[in-house]
């Protein structure tokens, strides 16, 4: 099967995020960068499907040249091809992003055939818009489900041609199960799998992989006013937490009991 996984370069999560003085960017001077966590699971899902059913997987990112780092990270865990849709800075308007991605996907599909499955992350870790995947799918006229935590190919199929794919979405009471006709799009969520770390050999192999840069003409209308624009960024108020030490050793036991009673768990 042919799979395309889309990834975005975002500041590595885990630390306090500072905003630059002009309130337009995340201050990344102390931060490393990573693939958005949901998308990292998307990459892992693509690799697992290819391992099981054969075929090839491509990873694509839209962003500045430095996004090459995330593309190579995906190749280092088993993706075979990588494509960069270059932009100046981080794209802000989801429709513009979606239009550019659709143009790039069409060009790739013209060259090598249709992607049976396009995997997005549920939402990006930085902007969290939940927008791009559904807009791309809509424009391509393909079925799309977001929030996916399980992907399966029905018995006897190989995930390509006119088959379908089963996608599971977690809800309060259990799972919603969707059958999507191929070619299809899904937005996956953390928890669908445990992404592997790259091996040293994988990392070294990724250094040798060819980076395809695919500049596309985006839909001019997509950049028109009235679409989404960024005014300014602001850090949320820090939630103050206080650590109260209840005591040391057995002496702390009564205080622990009191607290558990207060919380109503006893």
């Amino acid at each position: 099967m042919r799979i395309l996984a889309l990834v975005k370069r975002v500041p590595a999560p885990g630390a306090r995020i500072n905003i630059t003085e002009d309130e337009q960017h995340v201050d990344d001077k102390n931060l490393g960068h990573a693939i958005s966590p949901h998308e990292e699971c998307g990459v892992e899902a693509a690799v697992q499907l290819i391992e099981q059913y054969g075929g090839d997987a491509t990873v694509m990112s839209m962003g500045a040249d430095v996004s090459e780092e995330q593309l190579r990270a995906a190749v280092s865990v088993g993706i075979s091809k990588m494509v960069l849709v270059p932009t100046n800075g981080s794209p802000k308007d989801p429709q513009a992003t979606a239009s550019a991605l659709v143009a790039a996907i069409r060009e790739l599909e013209e060259q090598d055939g249709v992607f049976d499955l396009i995997i997005f992350g549920n939402e990006s870790a930085d902007q969290g818009g939940f927008q791009v995947g559904i807009r791309v799918a809509h424009e391509l006229g393909r079925a799309m489900v977001n929030g996916i935590k399980g992907l399966e190919i029905p018995d006897g199929q190989d995930g390509s041609g006119d088959g379908h794919i089963v996608a599971r979405r977690e809800v309060d009471a259990g799972f919603e199960v969707y059958e999507l006709p191929l070619p299809a799009c899904v937005g996956v969520k953390e928890g669908i799998n445990l992404p592997r770390y790259p091996t040293m050999k994988g990392r070294l192999a990724s250094k040798k992989a060819e980076l395809v840069s695919l500049a596309v003409e985006a839909d001019a209308d997509a950049h028109a006013n009235g679409r989404q624009a960024q005014t300014r960024l602001k850090s949320p108020p820090e939630t103050a937490t206080e650590t109260v030490i209840l005591g040391d050793g057995v002496d702390a036991a009564p205080a622990v009991v009191d607290l558990l009673e207060e919380l109503g768990v006893l």
Binding site: N30, R196, M200, R203
Partner: protein, 840 residues
């Protein structure tokens, strides 16, 4: 947690391995009312300790690093926070195999068990290694892996349980305040934190990579820079996981690729010192909140590590298929000369530094600082090369710190020659003769910041004249030239002119100057204007602090002349002891004074052409200091010699120097005078006479009696260390003596002539036994050099009294081979009666 204090005796800033061990050691030495603060949480406040690989290779060529490494390893063992994993340094090149032989020599010197292994023997210990790409290994079974965070906690707990320590985590220092002290000095007074202000008598900066920033708050400097050491944790691997323990296999240092592989339970830590130097300003290190991991675990820059992964996989193929689970750009501290920063800051009294110390030396160096604060000087070892006061102002700025760290980072696992010179940051201070010396083809060596001519290519003809030759083995020949021996022999035959401008020249003046001079020195200094003394300065325990000359140049003026490597330390020592009544004024005259040395049998004939002064030995006796005019230039003549031939140190104003040089060179034309370099002054001339050098033969671990520098009588005046000195004299014959040895045969097992470098080569008895006295002091080479006038390789070092008799047969180890040598005695190998000093 107790209320935040407003007063304390000592505030220690930084609760990493160093600060934590320091409070423990201070409490053991009886200190009370100690406060330890750190901006991060405990037990891992987020500095370099938290991400250290925590292993200790106990063999180092440097004495301080080796002995404090062993001492630290033992402290971890005493607390049961250590496992002896063993460790192997593997060689991929013949040059590295030679270095491993040198490691074996140092292991013997420091008494560390070690052996050389064949590739097959390495494979037996490390079954997953590719033995086909290595030539051998240096195995050290006592390499240990320690728990540095837990050790820090135990040291803190020890002090807290005594009730002498309060600890405050998550407390950030905002300022370090000072007050004026006598003699225009500053003294630390308080630490301002985000939780309040603490007045303190002593403040210790143990802030690792942040140390310079915190010292700067008080107007002091601790020259270090945070630098990246990349490390990746890869795994799991079955062969490691099956051991069910933190570490079962020896740590492998892949020396030629500057990498190590260290088992960490089921994974392998691959660490690198092979990437480009990546330096950060302390202000650019994130706070604990801004850091994804901890502040000193910065985002991994994968591209820098890729070449290291390739070579690591070559050595251990299994690493290639293991997952990279955790990878960091870990920060650690680098200094301009790769040695730690210990001791009191020179800018602010009672503000101390315990910085640029890695986990492997942490407990030992913390003990050094604690003893220093307690006794005025450490007892466990002489921290001569780690003393923060060693740095000159030119060495304390970021431009210098960064450039030097950039140059030496790649040498962390490098093969560094004992005489190795820096490439960058040269010509920081040049003497007035620099352009003349350049024209003469001087080979410049840098003495801290000073450029000194080691030899002159213009004297190459002397090599032929005296039938000299290069050395056979490149290592022995490196940073050396037979021209040195030519210059030496010419000096003995005619005369040599030496540029001694790197001398550090100080002046004490004022009503208390003479008394203060006597208080510093063992020997009587002030016997009237125009007199001098060559004298040790001792610490309170009676060991050497300094060794220098002092001259009474006025009714209440004393000049002090010391070496380029000790100027900073000696200046700090003087200032620290200046009388509080301000009766003594200190001046540093170094940059306004230049010194030439003129020595050799023709010295008097040369100089007498330029002056009417009486230069005869009777009229101008040894040790005399006279003001004379030479070639119309006002000079001070000091009749003394460090090279064993008659002559003078000639002092004049900096600007007069070039004219004086030209006049003397011109007057010497028909007397065989040659410009002569420091190779003669510091090594060949000195070693033939057995003259001792501070930092080599003279260290705080030895006293003047052992060094052979005790005078028949002790002066009446009090001086620092007098009580200990008198006790040592009364104790009778010392246990060890500083002696000269002559190497009887320099030919190695391959039939090559070898030449010792003076890099702590062990001196063994005829049976090949290592010699250690009851104080734990090992017999080792403190200076090695060729004696061109005696035609032999000479060595200086201390040996136990029973081996000190002239004629005793001994052996010296060099490059892991033994060479026979014989004790000359405690005096000189050349002209023992000193007839030449008198021009006879």
């Amino acid at each position: 947690m107790s209320d935040f204090p407003t007063k304390a005796n000592v505030v220690v800033i930084g609760a990493g391995i160093v600060g934590s061990c320091l409070v423990g050691h201070l409490s053991r030495l009886g200190w009370e009312d100690i406060v330890l603060i750190d901006k991060g949480p405990l037990p891992n406040p987020g500095g370099s300790t938290g991400h250290a690989s925590n292993f200790i290779f106990p063999v180092d060529h440097n004495k301080e690093m080796a002995l404090l490494g062993v001492q630290s390893a033992n402290q971890y063992r005493d607390l049961d926070r250590s496992v002896d994993s063993g460790g192997i340094e593997v060689a991929r090149t013949q040059e590295r195999m030679d270095e491993l032989n040198r490691r074996m020599t140092s292991a013997t010197a420091w008494g560390v068990e070690a052996e050389l292994l064949t590739p097959a023997q390495v494979k037996e210990l490390v079954p997953f290694i590719n033995e086909e790409i290595i030539l051998g290994g240096f195995h050290c079974p006592t390499v240990s892996v320690v728990d540095s965070l837990d050790t820090g906690t135990l040291f803190r707990n020890e002090a807290m349980e005594k009730g002498v320590l309060q600890v405050f985590a998550n407390t950030e220092v905002e300022d370090v305040e000072t007050v004026d002290a006598p003699n225009g000095q500053k003294k630390v007074s308080a630490v301002v934190t985000d939780r309040g202000r603490i007045e303190a008598n002593y403040v210790v900066v143990a802030c690792g990579v942040w140390s310079n920033r915190v010292a700067n708050m008080a107007g002091a400097t601790i020259p270090l820079v945070p630098a990246v050491h990349q490390m990746a944790d890869v795994g799991p691997m079955d062969v490691l996981a099956e051991t069910n323990t933190e570490i079962a296999y020896p740590i492998v240092r892949d020396m030629d690729t500057f990498c190590y592989e260290r088992q960490a339970a089921g994974s392998m830590e691959v660490g690198s010192y092979g990437h480009r130097a990546i330096l950060h300003h302390p202000d650019d290190i994130p706070s604990n909140e801004e850091a994804a991991l901890t502040p000193t675990e910065m985002p991994f820059t994968q591209d820098d590590f890729d070449p290291q992964m390739e070579t690591a996989i070559e050595l251990m193929d299994m690493l290639g298929d293991a997952e990279i689970k955790y990878a960091i750009n870990g920060l650690l501290s680098l200094t301009p000369d790769a040695m730690p920063c210990l001791g009191e800051t020179v800018e602010v009294n009672n503000l101390w530094s315990a910085a640029a110390v890695w986990v492997k030396e942490g407990p030992g160096m913390a003990q050094v600082v604690a003893e220093w604060m307690t006794y005025g000087y450490p007892r466990v070892i002489d921290p001569h090369a780690s003393d923060l006061a060693r740095f000159y102002p030119e060495e304390r700025g970021d431009d210098h710190i960064w450039a030097r760290a950039d140059e030496h980072f790649i040498k962390t696992y490098g093969i560094v020659h004992p005489q190795e010179q820096w490439e960058g940051r040269r010509n920081l201070v040049q003497s007035p003769y620099f352009s003349r010396q350049e024209e003469l083809g001087a080979m410049f060596f840098q003495a801290r910041v000073w450029e000194r001519a080691q030899w002159y290519d213009s004297n190459a003809d002397l090599v032929e004249r005296y039938g000299l030759s290069e050395r056979e083995v490149e290592w022995d020949n490196r940073w050396w030239s037979p021209i040195i021996n030519g210059e030496h022999l010419n000096m003995r035959e005619n005369a040599g002119l030496f540029d001694l401008s790197a001398f550090q020249v100080f002046e004490l003046s004022g009503p208390g100057a003479l008394d203060f001079a006597e208080y510093l020195a063992v020997n009587k200094v002030c016997k009237g204007v125009g007199t001098s003394a060559y004298t040790p300065w001792l610490n309170a325990d009676g060991g050497f602090h300094s060794d220098l000359t002092m001259m009474q140049t006025g009714e209440d003026v004393v000049r002090i002349v010391t070496g380029a490597f000790d100027g900073g330390r000696d200046e700090h020592w003087i200032k620290k002891h200046l009388p509080e009544d301000e009766s003594v004024t200190f001046k540093n005259l170094t940059m306004s004074t230049t010194t030439l040395g003129l020595w050799g049998p023709n010295a008097e004939a040369i100089l007498s052409q330029l002056t009417d002064a009486d230069l005869s030995f009777a009229g101008n006796p040894y040790g005399s200091v006279t003001n004379v005019e030479i070639a119309g230039v006002a000079c001070t003549l000091f009749r003394v010699s460090y090279v064993g031939d008659t002559g003078w140190e000639i002092y004049t104003g900096w600007d007069n120097g070039p004219a004086l040089w030209d006049a003397i060179m011109d007057a010497g034309k028909d007397h065989g005078l040659r410009p002569t370099g420091m190779g003669v002054y510091a090594v060949t001339g000195r070693i033939e006479k057995g003259y001792r050098l501070m930092g080599a033969e003279l260290e705080s671990e030895y006293n003047p009696i052992e060094a052979g520098l005790a005078r028949p009588k002790v002066k009446a005046a009090d001086f620092i260390g007098k009580e200990a000195y008198l006790a040592a004299r009364e104790a009778g014959d010392p246990e060890s003596h500083c002696v000269t040895l002559v190497v009887d045969d320099n030919v190695d097992s391959q039939g090559r002539q070898r030449w010792m470098q003076g890099g702590n080569e062990p001196i063994l008895n005829a049976d090949g036994e290592r010699l250690v006295d009851s104080h734990g002091r090992v017999s080792r080479v403190t200076t090695a050099g060729y004696g061109p006038s005696v035609g032999k390789n000479l060595l200086l070092g201390y040996v136990p009294a029973e081996y000190a008799a002239p004629g005793t047969k001994m052996q010296v180890m060099y490059m892991n081979e033994l060479f026979p040598c014989t004790v000359v005695g405690t005096g000189s190998a050349f002209d023992p009666e000193n007839t030449r000093l008198k021009g006879e």
